[in-house]
Each structure stands twice: as C-alpha cells, then as structure tokens.
Amino acid sequence: MTTQTETSVNDDLQGLIEIAQLATAARDAMSDEIVSRMAGTMSEGLILLDRLTRNEGLMKLLQVLDRQDSQNLLIAFSEAIHTTSQEIAAAPPAKGGVGCLMRVVRDPGTLEGIRFLTMLGKYMSKGLREQHRHGD
C-alpha cells in the first residue's frame, strides 16, 4: 500500500524527470549554428543597449519625455504629423506669390507654429552655448 509520503516523492521525481526530459530535448534541438546565432544576437543587443543607456543625450531626452507637458507636446506633434499629411494630400498645389504668403501669415495657427519654432531655436542655442562654456 502506497503511503501519502511515497506518493508525494514519486510526484516530485516525476516532475524532475520531466524537467530533465525538457532539458535533454532542448539540448538535442540545439546546434553550433543556433548557439552562435543566439550569442551573436545577444552580443549585438548588449552592445546596442550599452550604447543607448550610456548616451547622455538620449537619457536626458527620456527624462524630459517623462514629464506630462512634454508628453502632451509629443502627442500634439504626433497628431500634427497625421493631420498635416492628410491636409497636404487633399490641398491643391500652392499658387505662390506675396498674396498667398500674406494669407498664410495671417493664420493664427501658423503664427503660433512660427513662435514655437523660434522659441525652440532660442533655447537650443542657449543650451548649446552653456554646454560649450562648461567644456561638455
């Protein structure tokens, strides 16, 4: 008559046998080429990850993008790309000329956009000057 303990031990052994069978099956399925390819991918992945995590510019960008206002900007930017591509596709070719330019400049949205780009340029050049001053 099998005791409860014996049953438990048998179950454990069966579990171990199944794990061993799995390991054996994995080993049998492997080949030098598979190992080399996996190691090659892992090696390149590690190098890429290392480059990314040690890239100060990228890390700073990620920090900035963590902030809600930056995320709002990114969302707005994404939507703007989508809307622009749709409008450009539907709009007739621009006629050109001063009149056309005046109509564009009179549009409040375009003026907001120009202000945004001007501010971006101003702060970028200020930041670059700061970095050069500190020798970074």
Partner: protein
Amino acid sequence: MRILVVGGGTGGTIVANNLARRLSSETRNRKVRITMLSASDKHMYQPGLLYVAFGQMTPDELYRDQKSLLESSIDFYVDPVEKFHLDKNNVVTKSGKTHEYDILVIATGSRIVPEQIPGLSEGAETFYTEASAVQLFKRLRNFEGGKIAVVVGVPHKCPIAPVELIFSMHDYFKSRGIRDKVEIKYHYPIGRIHTIENVAKWAKPEFDRMGIEYETLFNVKEVDIANNVVRSEEETESHYDLLIAIPPHCGMEVIEDNNLGVGGWIPTDRHKLTMNGFDNVYVVGDTTNLPVSKTGSAAHFEAEVISENIASIIKIGTPVRDYDGKVYCFIETGHDSATYAMFNYKNPPDLKPSSQPMHWFKMAYNKMYWTSVRGLL
C-alpha cells in the same frame, strides 16, 4: 592627463575602452585624453583561426573595424609606433608624428617566427594567420590517409592550441570516416605532453583513447622538405606526409629595436603590470615577459587590472589592484565537446570532464568576444 595606448589587439582595446568608461566625465571635461595608436584599422579574433582550419568558420567572421569597437571618446590613429622615448615620455610613429604621454600602455603583441627553424616555413602547415589557416583546411580536406606529424615551437601563443589541434583532427577525420587511415603523431618539446602539468595528466589518457602517438623532448631542429622528415635537437626524427607546426613566437620587432626587452618581451612587474623601472609605463598581453600563458584571456584579465589602476591613480592618486596571474582557457576536446582550464600564479588548473554545454559556451564566446573587447564582459 594624456594616456597613450600603443597596440589595438585584445589587451590594448580592453584597456582603452575600460579607461574611457571609468573616466567618462574626465574625458568629457577634457581633463583626460585617451589615444590609441595601432598598426591596423582591423581587429582580428585570433582564436577563430583554429575553426577556420577545420572549416567551421570563414575568415570574414574574424574581423571587425577597430574604430567600431572603441568608445567614441578615444582618439584612434592607424599609425604604428617606431620609436619609444621613455625618458622623454613620448613616442614617434611611422608617419613621423610625436605623441606625448603621461601614462603609456604598451600592447604590441607577438608574431610568429617560423623562419627561426630551417625548413619550417616552407615545409609545415600552420593556422596562426588567415592565409595559413585556409591553406591548412584545404590540405586537411584533401588528405586521404597517411602520417601527420604535429610539432611545437617555443615559446608560442595559446598553450592549449597543440592539444586542441589534435582533438579537432581526430574528430575531423573520424567524421570523414578515414580516421583508421590517418596516423597522428604529436611531438612536444618538454618531458611531458603539455607544459601545464595538470593539462598533461588530463590529456595523456585522452591521447591514448584516441590512438595518438606522442614523442616528448622533441625540440624541432630542422625540416628536411625533400625527404619529408622533421628532426629534433635531441637527434631523433619523424617521417610525415603532412607536417603541422605550432610556430615559435617573438615579441614585436619595435620592442627589440628600441631595447625594451629581449625577444620583444618587456620585463614587467608580475602584480603591478608596470614595465620594470618605469612606473608610468604599463605592459599588457603577449608583450609582457610574465610567466603566464600568452592568450587573449590573460590579456583580458591584465587589461582590467591596468585600467582600474590607471583610473584610480587619476581619481585618488594610487593604484588599487594587483594582477594574480589569472588565465581562463577554453579547451575544445573535439567538434562537439570542450572543457576549460582556469589558473593563476598560485593555483594550477583543475580540469573538469569535457561536455557539450562547455563547447556551446565556447561557441557563444566566439560571438560574445566583441562584447568583451568593448569592455562590457
């Protein structure tokens, strides 16, 4: 602080990359400048040559652009050094440019010198260069039977190479179904079949099992190409149909030309890894005269100590680590099994039974090497 690394092999590259990582803020603030001078714009994974000799790798897999392996803060020039002025802290390169330094790392490596043994260059195959490894593969592939003699010159890079060659040949001919038609005879210069005693003890029964004939105390004197005979200094000789040599090695000519060390090996402090008499000159890898194996792994472990010490000297004014002679060698015991030998100045290797997972570890390392020289592993 100007750090100059001369040589872009395993040791030099790891030192430069580790330093760039440890001193990233100092290099960014221009307080430290790291420069590497190398003879080539390519970096070769030299252990891969044995695989080329058996058709398991192709030569193009062994190379990367040196620049792609270096941290971006390292100034890299392909311009080998011709003059070392250690008393003036500068070197002069082939192009005539002078590079001043505060700390110098010499990592010029070693080279094969088969011409030291009459007839060896013309009469023996080897696998220590790309062309010779491809040539050896072609000879092995066309070999249909007969006697193969393996001879070993001293000193030589990678002490495990002779036994790995034997194991690989045994498996290669077995897989072609002609092992019974091939006689393999191994010749070794000292009184046992390997310089490391525990490797010799481990390899002997393996050789017996595989039917490898061996002759110890065989120092190659000359190769008689006309008669297919190799003779030893001990007045013995062996006939062959195919002769394979582990050629003798020397340090680089530039080291000898500048009187930095006899045979191109620089006298080096075994723990500090500085050149004897010069505290600001470090020596790494094959270039040292240390009593450790001339392998990539020794260069790797030495490079870690050197870079950590240079960085700590810059940061706190004193080195922090000693090199303990650590070496880790994979040993391919055939086409699908391997083991390893790990040892240092105090502890000899204790070899474990070979296994397929260890072989895969080695296969994986062949790819992970590039991660290793970047200073990540």
